[in-house]
């Protein structure tokens, strides 16, 4: 037991400074949702939930990549919440291929997925794709299924206008 604080310190020293490097996915675990909300507090954010086994998601991902390139005002967070646990490398490859390597990318990494989903939305049973438009004031607009990107553009425009 006495060695554990030493180990914790050791582990802390090992965390490399460039964890959020392009193409990396951060492990989404208990509390990660609160961390994301806190980090983006007061700023509009779009959160997109996706997975490799989800056919509609694979079609939709490049469209998000195009939107990210088109709209510098889009703060995009992607969360791989596949109901079949995805491998990190495969998920990263899909993000890169879709032009989403520079987005803030996360991946579910906790076997107790019910709890992860509950923290995000107590009513969400895990259907993907799912998109949440989170406004400056914290208000959430949820788009179930494949998102209508025209609606997302309108929402971004309104967010920009509101900040003027």
């Amino acid at each position: 037991m006495t060695k554990r604080p030493l180990l914790a310190l050791l582990a802390l020293c090992m965390v490399p400074p460039n964890l959020a490097r392009a193409g990396d996915l951060q492990p989404f675990m208990r509390g990660s949702w609160q961390d994301i909300r806190h980090t983006h507090d007061g700023q509009p954010m779009v959160v997109h939930f996706w997975g490799l086994t989800c056919g509609p998601c694979r079609v939709e991902m490049p469209q998000w990549g195009a939107l990210l390139a088109e709209r510098p005002d889009l703060a995009l967070v992607t969360i791989n919440a596949d109901l079949v646990s995805n491998e990190q490398a495969s998920a990263a490859a899909m993000l890169t291929k879709s032009g989403l390597a520079t987005a803030e990318n996360w991946i579910f990494r906790d076997s107790f997925v019910e709890r992860l989903r509950y923290e995000i939305d107590p009513q969400w049973q895990g259907e993907i794709p799912l998109t949440m438009l989170i406004a400056r004031d914290g208000g959430v607009t949820t788009l179930e299924g494949v998102a209508d990107l025209a609606q997302v553009r309108d929402w971004l425009d309104r967010q920009a206008e509101a900040s003027r």
């Binding site: 490399p16 990396d24 989800c54 109901l83 079949v84 076997s111 019910e114 509950y118 107590p122 259907e127």
Partner: protein, 511 residues
């Protein structure tokens, strides 16, 4: 370099980096205490495990099937390790080294600690590896034993013993219990070599046993990086001592998933699954093709071979399990999520008029859930002795959200108004139905943000009214879907959870 060598030596001594064996001797008492405090079936296994370390012996017969010890200390250790919530594998290794001294876990720890060492040596170059997990190691438990299973499917054998089929460590395994799930015989692997098993929430190994005692097993695998599936079947003629090498259920190479196996009264085995073979031809014709097809086949020789595959209907939702029951000899009934016109994914039921003739599609409920997504949340179907259909399903449309139940007294031509199940604010999910002796049991999961509870309610008037729900079991960790099973006399809840292990809990007496 001296410092690095010293560190590696330290890590090696502390965490078996270079292979310190004798896990039983060096294991701390706390690793046992974690399990013993539950004092149930898991605890009983824990105590017997003290005197019965790994049992591993190859079986000479049975197409390469082999035995793997069920009474193994690793499940308890691995479970103790998993109790360290959060953190990556290497963090858990560091926090709970004793939990990772079993064969595969030890290997995983060595690998992860070597990665840590590599990060120390090359700071900033290995960050991608920090969060690299495979399917198994994400759970922290890869041994082919019951305690490492995330899905367990039970069935009672005519002699009264319980068989469970489960997936762990890339194997589908079968174990037998003669004391209602308290202890199990050593597990027997159906697939001798590990396979990439379908790990989706609605996937699980299937098992049925014929009156003659022949065991039939089916399971889904992923065969490529695009998650295309292939379904395999196997059988045992010696009570589960050995299994025939798994064979593809169908020769077709298009994706197959969500197989279901049901036993007819004459011993014929009915297979139904979701199949994508009609998708490519439709696209060649320039037609769009939504979802998958409902496919079926029969085996008349106890799972050794299956008849030619037939397609009942196209355009099912491609990612939900099926509900299957019989309304008479040679007359299976399939409940499934169909893609109706306009992309609406509501439930439908098909009643076969004979073994190869599926009847018309009948809609269970007009929920109008219009969604282009994968719910991974299939229904449950039970048929009472008087022919009443009992259906439970999940939907999330604007007008109807959550779990619902309905009954039909006319072979699905009409259903009662959907009845909401469970607490609306507790994410009621994954229903299971069982009908026996005029009673109908309905079980499901609820989650309150911290704990998952399995709720059960019973109808004594064939589904017209139900008792108030009671909590049959709880867990504060990941868990399988709840299943209901009967030995003909009593109804049981069968449930696997990460913290508590496998539980077979008797429910109230049949009405």
């Amino acid at each position: 370099m001296r410092t690095i060598s010293g560190l590696l030596f330290f890590l090696g001594r502390r965490f078996s980096l270079f292979g310190i064996d004798g896990a039983m001797q060096s294991m701390p008492a706390s690793a046992w205490a974690h399990d013993d405090k539950h004092g149930s079936a898991a605890g009983a296994r824990a105590r017997s495990a003290r005197s019965a370390p790994e049992v591993a012996a190859r079986s000479a017969a049975g197409g390469g099937a082999f035995r793997i010890g069920a009474l193994h200390p690793c499940p308890l250790l691995a479970r103790a390790g998993r109790a360290q919530r959060g953190g990556t594998l290497w963090q858990r290794c560091a926090l709970s080294p004793a939990a990772f001294r079993c064969a595969s876990s030890r290997k995983a720890c060595r690998v992860s600690l070597l990665i840590v060492a590599a990060i120390l040596l090359l700071p900033g170059t290995a960050s991608a590896q920090m969060h690299q997990h495979d399917h198994g190691t994400a759970q922290g438990c890869t041994e082919p034993i019951l305690a490492c299973a995330t899905k367990v499917t039970p069935t009672f054998v005519p002699d009264g013993s319980l068989l469970v089929a489960f997936a762990a460590g890339g194997h589908v395994l079968v174990a037998r219990s003669t004391d209602l799930g308290r202890t199990f015989t050593p597990s027997v692997a159906v697939n001798a070599q590990p396979m990439r098993l379908d790990s989706g929430p609605d996937a699980r190994p299937k098992i049925v046993v014929t009156r003659e005692g022949r065991i039939v097993v089916a399971f889904g695998t992923f065969k490529d990086s695009a998650f295309n599936g292939q379904v395999f079947m196997s059988y045992s003629r010696d009570g589960g001592a050995t299994f025939a090498p798994p064979q593809p259920l169908t020769a077709d190479q298009e994706s197959q998933r969500f197989e279901t196996v049901a036993l007819d009264v004459d011993g014929s085995v009915f297979f139904a699954w979701l199949d994508k073979r009609n998708r490519a031809p439709a696209k060649l014709r320039g037609e769009s093709y939504a979802g998958a097809a409902l496919a079926f086949a029969w085996s008349k020789d106890g799972g050794a071979s299956a008849w030619e595959t037939r397609i009942a209907y196209d355009n099912t939702c491609e990612c939900c399990r099926l509900g299957v029951a019989f309304t008479g000899p040679g007359r299976p009934v399939v409940l499934f999520r169909k893609i109706f016109e306009g992309g609406i994914r509501d439930h439908a039921v098909v009643t076969f008029s004979d073994p190869t003739t599926p009847g018309p599609i009948r809609r269970v409920s007009v929920d109008d859930w219009r969604i282009d997504a994968c719910p991974h949340h299939g229904p449950s179907l039970a048929i009472a002795a008087d022919g009443t259909y009992h259906a439970a399903w999940y939907t999330n449309s604007r007008t109807r959200r959550g779990l619902f139940y309905a009954r039909s007294a006319d072979e699905g031509a009409s259903f009662s108004a959907p009845m909401a199940i469970g607490a609306a604010d507790r994410r009621a999910s994954n229903p299971a139905l069982l009908a026996m002796n005029g009673g109908v049991w309905l079980a499901w999961k609820e989650f309150d943000g911290e704990e998952t509870a399995v709720k059960v309610m019973v109808s004594r008037d064939n589904g017209v009214t139900f008792t108030a729900p009671v909590t049959a079991a709880r867990t504060a960790q990941a868990s399988d879907h709840p299943l209901l099973i009967s030995n003909g006399h009593q109804v049981f809840l069968s449930w696997m959870s990460e913290g508590e292990g496998y539980r077979l809990l008797p429910l109230e007496d049949a009405p």
